[in-house]
Symmetry: C2
Subunit: 205 residues, 2 copies
């Protein structure tokens, strides 16, 4: 039986964000098992034990749920990268850590059992808002590290900062964009170290 | 009516490689219009006007035809890259030309009207032999340019040649592998110049 709350229950029921979290948690598990693309809101409602109408009270579409899941995942990657970068002081080492953390975190979240890969793929190809925030975070992190390295004298200062930032972001793309990463799973062992070393050579003063 | 030659025609008929070429030419056109994945050998036979059995005399499978088409395409890209690299003498300029020619040639062959993209995608994901030859060519071309640049004093010599070659090949991958290139079509204007410049900075002595 569907657990749509009766008006009485709703009055003293859980607050909205709790229900939203509950839906997102259940949907994450369901998408993990059956895939995002193949699941409809009806499937989801049945699996969670809510009515479809009740889910639509909190999310306007399947994509809205997917966006929330995707946003959680990408925020996790951003937190992992931030932690890895903050762990060390030297800008060159920060750059190495950043690339390594990006690859490891993306692999864990999107490719371990291919769990949430198809949400990430839809997000990346549909350019969902969470993807844009994620890409802006990566760009900003690169730019911050570069500025610190220019200040400390570790990195050259001749090339315009924007140009260097953009070039490094392009080089890192196959490591942080799940659509590209899926075709480079055989290179994830060697890529972070090789790419970091080449980038660092390009930055030498 | 199927144009399968009668024994008499076959006796003084076209030599094998001519028939093979004829099949490949017709199949290329057919795949361009209807896609490789969706076309069967029966569709192909009907379209060309040969019997299915006659096609199987020359190619053991649809993939064998696809491999020939793909091999022709990849050879074309290799010829374009070779011509672009040979046009100039300076190793840094050779490297710039290589990357530019790779992107332009791949775009023209695989993405103009998405023509032969799905053959290229099958080839790349199935690691068909032509793909391996193509990748080996790219690796060799990078290595040759690096050696010339080390000889001329344009490039540094401290980093092991293998390591530099491999790192540059990884950076170029999104430009020459159609599976990756399809997700970077919005970056093909800026990527060759930005990446070449960064690579060249990394190679400075």
């Amino acid at each position: 039986m569907n657990k749509t709350p009766s008006p009485k229950v709703a009055a003293r029921g859980p607050v909205d964000h709790e229900v939203r979290d509950q839906i997102v948690t259940a949907a994450t598990e369901h998408f993990r098992l059956y895939g995002y693309e193949k699941t409809t809101v009806s499937d989801l409602a049945k699996a969670i034990g809510f009515s479809k109408a009740y889910i639509y009270k909190f999310f306007e579409s399947k994509q809205a749920i997917g966006e929330m899941i995707c946003s959680n995942c990408l925020q996790q990657i951003q937190a992992d990268v931030r932690a890895a970068v903050d762990e060390v002081d030297s800008p060159p080492e920060k750059l190495r850590r950043m690339l390594k953390a990006l690859v490891e975190s993306c692999l864990r979240l999107f490719f371990l059992d291919r769990k949430l890969y198809d949400i990430a793929a839809s997000a990346a190809s549909g350019r969902w808002p969470a993807t844009l925030v994620y890409e802006a975070f990566i760009e900003q992190t690169i730019s911050d590290i570069l500025q610190q390295g220019r200040q400390s004298g570790d990195f050259e200062r001749k090339t315009p900062l924007d140009e260097t930032t953009r070039a490094i972001q392009l080089i890192m793309r196959p490591c942080f964009n799940p659509l590209l990463l899926q075709h480079g799973l055989d290179t994830t062992d060697e890529a972070p170290a090789l790419l970091s070393s080449l980038i660092l050579r390009s930055l030498s003063p």
